[in-house]
Amino acid sequence: MKKINETIAVTLMLLATVGTIIGVFVIEAARRKKFYTVELIARSPLNGNWYPKEIRIPLGKEVKIYIRNVETVSHGFSLPEFNVSALEIKAGEVEVVKFTPDKRGTFPFMCTVWCSNEHLHMSGEVIVE
């Protein structure tokens, strides 16, 4: 009886620690793979700017961009060519934008919220191939 209890306790302990860590990351990896095409991280230019700055996507397939603002100020997202935008992505929040590219070429996207003095340099490119 005592042996069983000890085993249960140790199992629970491992579940709470190692189990939680593995579980969290496995679930998140599966979720991203299933739902989103691209992950985009929003940061002011002095803190690293958009990451990645270049997004390559295929023509004619629906794209879901998963935008994470990892900073302490609000950012926005706009891709004028395809009329896609997220008005304000607050600090620590996540927004998802969807669109289907219907032409080839290189198109700029940029931040739409005054996030720092370098705000105007916060831009990147979408390349449709």
């Binding site: 302490t72 609000s74 919220v113 720092s116």
Partner: protein
Amino acid sequence: MKNIRAISIFSFIVYSLWLMASPAQAAEKFFEIKAKKFSYTPNIITVNRGDTVKIRLLSEDVHHGFFLDGYGIKTSAHPGMDGSLKFIADKPGRYTFRCSVTCGEFHPYMVGYLVVGPNSRFWLFAAIVLVIGIGSIITLNRVKKTNG
């Protein structure tokens, strides 16, 4: 015990008289508040109860907000895009206004004060503390006398 009662009744009367006294002529007050990480200028604004308060909020760096405790009203300002507020300061006391748009790591600590005078809230509690303090000494000495 009697003394405590006397003091409390006396202070209560003084306090209510003071509250009932008509507030200074209600005026319209205008403030231009500049918000910059992580403070407001001016950081403390003082008005009288009954005043109409107009606030223009300017931001000098990023998107900042302005939420007024107690009154529950808010506005926000982008650089070059001001915010404004108008309200009647009918609640006495000191109220904190705080940034309502995450603006940086110290955002939760970006605050300023609106003092709607007279600050009867503070004076009420200060009077209670003093009455208790003085009353407790008197009670202690009474006990001593009755005990002989």
